[in-house]
Each structure stands twice: as C-alpha cells, then as structure tokens.
Amino acid sequence: MRDFLSRRDFLRTGAAAGAVVGGLTAINPLEAGAAPTKDVAWEKSVCRFCGTGCGVMVGTRNGKIVAVQGDEKNPTNKGLLCIKGYSLPGIVSGQDRLTSPMIRKGGKLVKATWDEALDLVARKFGETLKAHGPESVAMYGSGQWMITDGYAASKWFRAGMGSNNVEANARLCMASAVTGFMTTFGSDEPMGCYEDLDLCDVLVLWGNNMAENHPVLFSRVLENKRKNPKMQLIDLATRRTPSTDAADLYVEFQPQTDLALANGICHLLIKKGLVDRDFVEKHVVFKKGKTGIGYGLEDRFKFADEAKLSTFDEFTTFLADYSPDKVEKLTGVPVATLERLADTFGNSKLKVMSVWCMGVNQHSRGTWMNNLIYNVHLLTGQICKPGATPMSLTGQPSACGTVREVGTLAHRLPADMVVMNPEHRALAAKIWKVPVEKLNPKPGLNTVEMFRAFDRGDIKCLWIQTTNPFVSMPNLNRYRKGAKKGEGRFIVVSDVYPTETTQFADVILPAAMWVEREGMFGNTERRTQQWNQLATPPKGCMADDWQILEVARRMGYGHLFPTDPKTYVRELFEEYRQFTLGNGKDVASYEDLKSHRGLRWPVVNGKETARRYVEGEDPYVKPGEGIKFYKNKADAGKAVVWLRPFEPAAEAPDKDYPLWLSTGRVIEHWHTGTMTRRVPQLNRAVPKAFVEVHPEDAKALGIQDGQTVRVVSRRGTLDLPARIDGRCKVQKGHLFIPFFDESLLANLLTLDSYCPISAEPDYKKCSARLERV
C-alpha cells in the first residue's frame, strides 16, 4: 500500500498529464471482501433492474447473498418487488462469471493479469490520444453505471483527456426525455413523484406497458384503483398488453400518430374552452422550432433547432390542422374518444396524470412528443399538484442518477450544465481543479454517431462498461461488422458475464456488480439511494469506477482522483455533489444517504422535495410564487408550450415491406437478458424471443402459433417462432419482437434513425415483411 501511495505522490508532482506511465501495481479495493457475518445479516439496498428503484433487503452470510426481500421501509415499493427483483440473488452467481482480465492475442482472448490489462488499456488510450486527438477515443457507459462510475468516466474524459466522447446507453432510452424536459422546463427530470400515482383520478399511459416494465409502480396504480373505484386508467397504445387488461379505456392509434393525437387533444381543449387561462397566463410562453427536421440516417447528421417566440393565437391557428376529423383519419382514434380525452384532461375536478417511457422516447420525434404531452398538461394546469402531473418514467436503475444528473452524455456536464456554455465550463474547471482551457467546448458524438465513427475508423479506441451494445444498438449488422474490422480499432469491455459485446473485445475487464460494491443509484422520482458493500465479489473482479481510476493513473491523471481505496466512493460522490448545490439539483449528503431509504432532490438542509416548482414543497420557490418553473431562466420562470407538428416516421410500411415492426421488452427479462436469462426460473418463463403476429396476418400466410417464421427488413432477416394471441396482441399489419435474446437479435432488423434533437433512435417503427420458412 505504501508503495502504491508513494508512486501516486510521484504522479501528482512529477508526471506530465497525458504521458503514459507504466510500472504501477493495480490494487483492488474489493479484495478485502465484505464484512464477515456469522448469522444472516439483512441490510438495505436497491434493485439492480429498472428505474423504479425499489428498495430491497439483502440477506448475506459471510459475504455471500442468501436471499432478498422487498424493503417494507422503502417508500418506493413498500416491501413489494416484481419477479425480477425477487430473483436478484441469482444474477451474481452465474457459473460463467468473468473473473480474470483477458487480452486478445493472435485473435484469441487469453487470461492476463490486471496490471497487463490496465497497462495495455492506458497505453492504447494514451497513444491514440497523442496520435489522433481527443475525438479518436470514446467511452460508452450505461444507465446501470453507479453514480461514481459515471462521474469518474466523465471527469477522466473531459478534465483529463479533453474529450467529450463520453456517452451512455441511456441515449437509447432517455435522451428524448432529457431534451423534452430541457426545452419545456429548462431543467431535466420530473416535477412529480410516485405518490402522485396513488393520488391521481385518471392515469394516462402514453405508449407505455407499465404492467410489464414498471410492475411495482403499476401495483401502486392498481391499489389506487382498488381504493378509488372511480379512478380511470386510459391506455393510449399501438398494441394490447397486460396494462391494457387493467385499463378502463384502450385507445389504439397508428404508429407515429401520437403527435397528431396530442395536438388533436389540444385543439379540442381550446375549442371547448377547457384551457386553464389563468395558469397559462401566469406560467406559460409559446414557442416554435424548425420543422421537416430529418431522421438522422446519414453519417455525420447535424441538426440545431432554432426557437422562435410564438403566441397563444398562433398556437390556436397551428392547431387548426388537428381537427377531430383529420386526427381520426390519421390516428384511427374515433372523434368521440378524442372528445373524451380532451374532456378528461380539461376537467379541473379530476387530477390527471400522464406516464410514458420508451414508446414516446424511442421515437423519431421523441423530443417533440415529450413537449406535446407537457403541452396538454400545461394548457389544463394538470401539473405540479398532488395527483396531477406529467411523469416520464425511466428504464434503468440510474439513468437519472448517473447519466442525466452526472451528465454522461456527449454534451452534458453535471447538474443540467453543458460543455458548450462557457460559464458551465468555468464552474466545472473550478471544481475539477483544471485550467478551463482543458475543457473541450465542442460536444462529443452521440451514441449512434459514435458507433458510426467507430465503423468508419474515426474513433479508434472504445471502452464499453456495463452495457451490451452489440445486442442493443439498432441496425446491428452495420455496427457488428464495424466492430470486427480490426485495422487498429481497439475495444475494451467491462462486464460480469461473457456477452455478445465481450466477444468483440480486445481487452475484457471483469467487473464487480450490484451489492458486491458500495453504490448509489438515482431513480425516476429524483430519489438518490446508497448501499454498502454487502457481498464479496468473485476473486479478480474490480468495480467499474476503480478500473477507470487505475487507467487514469497510468495515463498520468492520478491527480484528478481520490486514491484511498477505503474512501474513494465517498470522495468521488462528495466532489460531484458540489456541482448540484445551490442550483435546484442539490443531491443529499453522503451521511443522509447512508441513513435514509434515499432522498429526492433538491435536498436542502437535509429535507427532500416531493414536488419540484411548488411553493411549500420546493425550497427554491419563494413565498407567494405558488408555482414557479424557476430553472427556465431564459423565459422568466415560465414553461414552454411548443408548436410541434405531426411528421411521418422515417420508414413506413410499403409494397415490399408491408408491416410495422416494433421492439421492446417482456416482464421476465431485463434489457439484453445477460442477468435475467441466467436465473433458471426467469429463463424457463421466456426461454427465447418470438414475433407477435396478428391472427389474420397469420391466417393469410397460413402459419400457426409457435411455428417458425421469417421476418425480413431492409437491414436484416430473422427466423423465430410466431406468437399469435399471446399475452400481448398486436394490431393487424403489425409485428413485435422482444430484444432480450442474443441468439435471435431483433436489432438486426431495426432502423438507426433518430430524433434529430435528442439523437435517440426509434426502435418502435420500421417496416418489415413476414415469410413462411
């Protein structure tokens, strides 16, 4: 240890930043293991899966996980879990855990020591940086990154290498939510909280299968329904799901036409005099942006929106295009249903809440669609009141806490700040103790462009942590071929199991996961949660953040990071927290996180905030202000209603590919299934992917339930079993494939078009045809 510290001291004083230093000995803070316990000890943690952030109690004996229960003291889930949460003990114990670093030698991955692997990674990043500049290196992380992982990655890249090419897979799921929040409210993340699910009179699901993807939150909704028999659940969707089974009204629309549906509701709100004029007067400005904005299909696609102020009158004129008749024709939603929706949102006696997730975000107009849902809520004043709020759900346990709040997207810094803003860079440079010139003002590449650049060879060195892009990227054929090209490309992958992504790696670094290390996640309702190291990882596994620190040290950036293996997590978090204080994004103190079941930011004087922008709840709203969208300083604390039109999808069914193809999830598997498929019970529930086919389409083709069929798109072909009338039901002319199965890759078929504002791909819409095999 002393040896290590003396070398670190040498680095701090002696080494020139950027010069690669060899001869360091890796240490692994986790090797000491979890505190030994003779009897089973139960301690709080957080579920490893979705963005709900359910509290779990983890029972361990001598560093081994014995069992998991729902944490009854956690207000998020009050003791309930879904089947994935109850299966947590099995996700760490797969027999093929990666436990040794591997280096590709002569085309084969062979075992290596940590020092060999870390030296190689540092050398490659250092050489590439020197030879090709900061745009030639990239880090691709995850909404499953713990807060300190993302923070270490972002700081190493931006303050160390001067590169903004640090991205995360949350780009593929939450980027449109971020740009939606930023453009409407000037600050990311919801104003409401989960308690609103218990209090609402109406819950509107916008393209959201909450029953399967946020099951514990859905249980809260059903409990609300049980206690409040008048409560209505309205399911706006393109496909019948278990969420539909519980709905009072199912509103089926054609893909992409949710844009017209939302505008149609606003049209009727104005026509029927259901606009809350007082709220609009006090809290809303109107704006319009560019139209005909493209689909991000070309390499090096660029787009910058230009906002122009508009007026309520201009908005009314703009909505003339969305008369009920026209909207019915486009969406397939009957006029009477549109009227009912408008009457519901416009009924000031009802508390109306909206939730959405991938259906709205993975959308070639995802930012617009987020804006349009806010329009409906802002026009009716159904916002910032208990039970009345729009709420964007997240799919990963720390998409909010890490990617969005720490800012591990190519243009972002912590706490809603961006690299393009000189004041933001100055503040970051101050906290990071680097000269401001070190921070690159040019945003890095978004995820799709990053993988395109890697395919072209412009990015040469790519480190992937905690995610599986060679299953989850759209248009996989292109990016998988790119990864195999070699020609100087270098891929590092940190993961816990062999995956489709590790097979492309030049270096594999075995990671410790979940309660094998101390960690922090931030969930959908702004709740930051911490847990202690409770289990001992398999020997050889190292935490993702410490892996980054070890490489950074080897490149001469050791002075940027804490060095004490016992306290580095706390030190990283406390430094990050400085960014958040005093600007409405204040995360709780480390001590408070230790002693609470999480706290919702802004946390001021130890007190959390249930609802943002609301006097009496949010300490940043001054007495007498009532509601204030204080983060949107550019518009004097008002929110923005955007004039956003309907524009068609990037690809729609035609003669050759006559069906809509959508992709998504099933309750039993999480993301690319690398954890859940290793749990025997979950694997037996849904052992492989399938394609949902409408019974009439199946009949026309003469295929039976379970029969293997071929799905063909312009990008790929996939043979898999047909599912007809399963628990979810597609419309006639539609197909749906879950993406969890690495041997039946749904994303060979999908299109890599993206929302030009958020750069989030549209996984929900492309065209395909079905063939008999």
Partner: protein, 155 residues
C-alpha cells in the same frame, strides 16, 4: 421408465414455444429462487384464464391467496416451460431462516417462526388443508395475529 420420461422431456424441450408445460415434480427450490420469492406457476395457464378464477375461490381446489389480493398476479408469479438452462447458475437457496424463539414464555401461544410479509392470510397455509405449515388447531379464531406475534424471522 426413467428413459421414457427423459425422452418425453427432451421432446418437450425441443418443442420450445409449444406452450407451457407442467414441469416434472419441481423441487420447492426450483419453484422459488429463495423462500422469500414468489413461487412460479406450477401448471399450464389456459388462454383467457384469470388466476382469480380459481385462486381465492372457496372449494375450487386451488391454493388460497396467502397475501392480500394484488391485481397483477403475473408481475410476480410466472409461467414455466421446459427449457434448457441458458447458462449454469451456482446459487443454492437456503431454507427459510427460523425465528429466534417459539414462545415468549412457557404456555404462551407460539410466535410466528417465518417471515410474514406477503403472508398476511394465515389460513391460506394453516387452514383446513394445510399446505406448507402446520394445521391450525383452532382456525375458527380468525384473528391469528392477535395472539401469535411475528418473531422477527427473516429480518
């Protein structure tokens, strides 16, 4: 006999997607990852069949609900098909952890020796047809927790 069963099972395994299959007398630990996890559904589920068509219906023969009704049963209880493991898993479940004591003092009603979360309806297991626990000697005294206190087992 055993070979025949194996053949049947392997055919079932090959015919994946052919619908839910009743797993061969699955051990309790196969049905539940841990004693704290919800058991899997050990029978095929017919299309259009709701869990509450049988469960919770008196004299239906189906096990009663041990916890209050939560409408989305399938968020926790999942169907099973015959399927090869995706990868091996070394997790070995332990038996439920016993509580610290059986009775507060001699002669007192015994405390509840297991965790009680999601097991609020005692008679679901301890009723006329006991399933996992002992048969209650006096199930007619419906308010069980008036006398039998949680022992803190499990947490």
């Amino acid at each position: 006999m055993r070979a025949a069963l194996l053949i049947v099972l392997s055919i079932a395994a090959l015919g994946l997607g052919a619908g839910p299959v009743k797993p061969k007398a699955a051990s309790k630990l196969e049905r539940q990852m841990t004693p704290y996890a919800p058991p899997v559904i050990p029978h095929p589920v017919e299309k259009g069949q709701a869990c509450t068509d049988c469960h919770g219906v008196p004299d239906s023969g189906a096990p009663d609900l041990p916890h209050r009704m939560i409408a989305n049963c399938r968020a926790c209880h999942i169907e099973q098909q015959a399927a090869k493991p995706f990868r091996g898993n070394a997790f070995k479940a332990e038996k439920e952890l016993p509580g610290p004591n059986r009775a507060t003092f001699p002669g007192a009603p015994p405390t509840i020796p297991h965790h009680v979360h999601m097991r609020e309806v005692c008679v679901a297991c301890h009723g006329k047809e006991p399933r996992h626990g002992a048969k209650a000697p006096h199930p007619e005294r419906a308010a069980c927790t008036q006398c039998h206190l949680p022992s803190g087992a499990g947490q």
